[in-house]
Subunit: 409 residues, 2 copies
């Protein structure tokens, strides 16, 4: 049994349930005989390089449990990638000095790459270290796992919001006939696709959904909007922010919209498409931009997602203590009518820097909607609600005390 200290860190854009994975790691690490001190690095690998550690053993157990319903990365996150050999050497040196033998990294594709490299370096240097990646992304684009913790909650929030926006749009006879909901999803359409769950009856919003997986055609898009408007009186369409045309170029390129005076910039893809609709179809509309609410709206998180996020954290620790390293915890969906999952380990190299797109078979032929295959895939992921205390009308999200760890030297 490898004994020593552990460090856990969070990376990339947060999700509603990223702290569940942190909680799962802490709970399992505190209960493990192999793991002595439980450190949290603030702001991902940056916190390791800066030796900015919290002593998680000293946290109030109520705060640890509060991670079950607290959004944002409680330890802080970063978008920093280790740049060069110097960074990696420094990281391993710090691990040595703090006797860190277990490294748990909660993140997406980039973070899995970092974890893989740290694992390789430790092997090369003969430093006994266990590195386990813990998947996290609302984008749901990690390969080798049925889905990613964080996605189910974002899907539930978006589907509910689009259901509500649809009721709003259709109930009022007014000049606003079109609503464009722009979701996150630069390279994959998992988030936009999930809004299909909002439909209960024929004619319900969203009327069409556009994904980066399918080349966007402006003429077809405008025809869709006009058709929905003629059929239902209003048109609500959902677009993933990273739509591309048949040449693979972004339909709306944020960087290219400053005019010669540098004085103007359009409001993003949604506004760009709305301008087209207003001009070509003479229909008034509005853009809805949920932005970071998609990854922070814990108030409407999926209990299934939160519980799985906690579980992947626990499983990471248990696997590492048993000797695993250089792997990521993946979720496998079991066959059968009832949704059930099991957790398994996959090689970090199989995940690092790779992206899983929506299978073409889960998108309709016209490329403006999803199929029932996708609905069957996503529906189990949004089941259940997370119970959150609302002591004064607002959710009582917790803060970690983050007691600093002293330099061992």
């Amino acid at each position: 049994m490898l004994t020593g200290n552990c460090v856990v860190a969070q990376s990339g854009g947060p999700t509603a349930v990223i702290n569940n994975s942190l909680g799962g790691v802490i709970e399992a690490a505190l209960g493990s005989e192999a793991i002595k001190e439980v450190y949290g690095a603030r702001h991902g690998v940056l916190g390791i390089l800066r030796e900015d550690f919290c002593d998680l053993r000293r946290e109030d157990p109520a705060s640890i449990q509060g991670l079950r319903y607290t959004p944002g990365a409680a330890l802080g996150s970063c978008r920093y990638q280790l740049k060069n050999q110097e960074d990696y050497d420094r990281l391993l040196d710090i691990f040595r000095r703090y006797n860190i033998r277990y490294f748990f990294y909660i993140g997406g594709n980039d973070s899995m790459d970092t974890a893989a490299k740290v694992n390789r370096l430790a092997l090369e240097e003969g430093y006994d270290l266990r590195v386990i990646g813990i998947p996290k992304t609302i984008d749901n684009d990690l390969p080798q796992t049925d889905h990613c913790p964080g996605y189910g909650s974002a899907a539930k929030y978006l589907a509910t919001s689009v259901l509500e926006m649809g009721l709003d749009l259709k109930c009022i006879v007014t000049s606003t006939k079109v609503a464009i909901v722009e979701t996150m999803g630069r390279n994959t359409g998992w988030l936009a696709a999930a809004t299909a769950l909002a439909r209960r009856r024929p004619g319900d919003a969203p009327h069409y959904i556009y994904l980066p997986e399918v080349a966007f055609d402006m003429a077809a898009f405008l025809a869709d909007v006009e058709r929905a408007y003629r059929q239902y009186g209003t048109a609500l369409v959902v677009v993933s922010e990273g739509l591309v045309d048949k040449n693979g170029n972004y339909v709306f390129n944020d960087a290219a919209t400053v005019d010669v005076f540098g004085h103007q910039r359009l409001g993003g893809l949604g506004q760009f498409l709305l301008n087209k609709i207003e001009r070509e179809l003479n229909l008034k509309g509005r853009v809805i931009l949920p932005a970071t609410s998609q990854r922070s709206a814990m108030h409407l998180a999926s209990r299934t997602d939160a519980e799985e996020a906690w579980a992947v954290g626990r499983v990471a620790v248990e696997a590492a203590v048993k000797g695993a390293s250089g792997q990521m915890v993946a979720i496998r969906r079991l066959e059968g009518d009832t949704y059930q999952v099991t957790y398994e380990l996959v090689d970090l190299d199989q995940v690092a820097n790779k992206e899983k797109k929506l299978p073409r078979a889960w998108i309709n032929e016209q490329g403006n909607d999803v199929t029932d295959h996708f609905i069957n895939y996503v529906r189990p992921l949004i089941q259940g609600e997370v119970s959150i205390p609302f002591p004064n009308g607002l959710p009582a999200y917790v803060n970690l005390a983050c007691h600093p760890v002293k330099d061992p030297d």
Copy 2:
């Protein structure tokens, strides 16, 4: 006792709880001896002019109860104002033919004006009719009432969302340093102001709040954003969509942003301000545009608000049956430490076409935040949550069957 039929209609932008007021009217009307048939007009006064009525007696009682947790206007709404004497005459003629003796209109300033005019016309024509207005608006801008049903829920949703967006923004070390949340509120700042509730500790978002009640100064705004960024590492500011400069002109005028080719339009006030920040302060940021979620997010409504919205519907019927007409139900807050309200009637003429702004004393001297006076005013309005069935991971919002009413002739 005036016996006859009643009609209820919904008008203007919906709120999360506008259907609570409808439910209160239906419940009280069904229980009243004076009221025979209970009709709902589809899409406000338009439904009356079109004789498009639903027979609400035939609705499933479970659907009526479901109005407690269903957003959007269940009868449909409109932004139609009766245009001319012909419209009014026609309306009264229809009331006569359907023996409608009670008219309940759920809406904002414009709708109270319509209700007042209908009431006056009936008096002039000697047609015995009782007209009661039922306040509804997330804008909270109706005079003569402590607050408006719909506002508390929008306030709770916005405050919770800004709390979550703030946790998101500050946790991640990335290039995005600024978030601009653009709220509704064309002429008043009640919605933007409510986001101040999101703060729990010094330094919490929102860092500054800008309201239409105070002349906007771009230099001061940029200085505020820079100061927040220097102090806290990130800056989250909330702007009400209708900000005006010292001359009373909109800071961002949507209509004036089409270029000479008619090809460009900026994304709104938030995007306009973000462009300024990026150019002048060299800070990257993002715009968050909750748009219609502010008025439809029943999933995070205030129970206090929902219960009051139901109550004003009931009170309207009870008052009308007792003989009141030409009045609106208002909410009066009782003195004392515990929040308690009572309902009273105010003249429609005192409400019609008038707007209540945030008192200057509830805004700080610099005009970039609210004072504790406002916090004490708004906090009771967001208390409690509405229990919603989530049978399959999504809220089970109801639809009315809307059985049509036959023409009496």
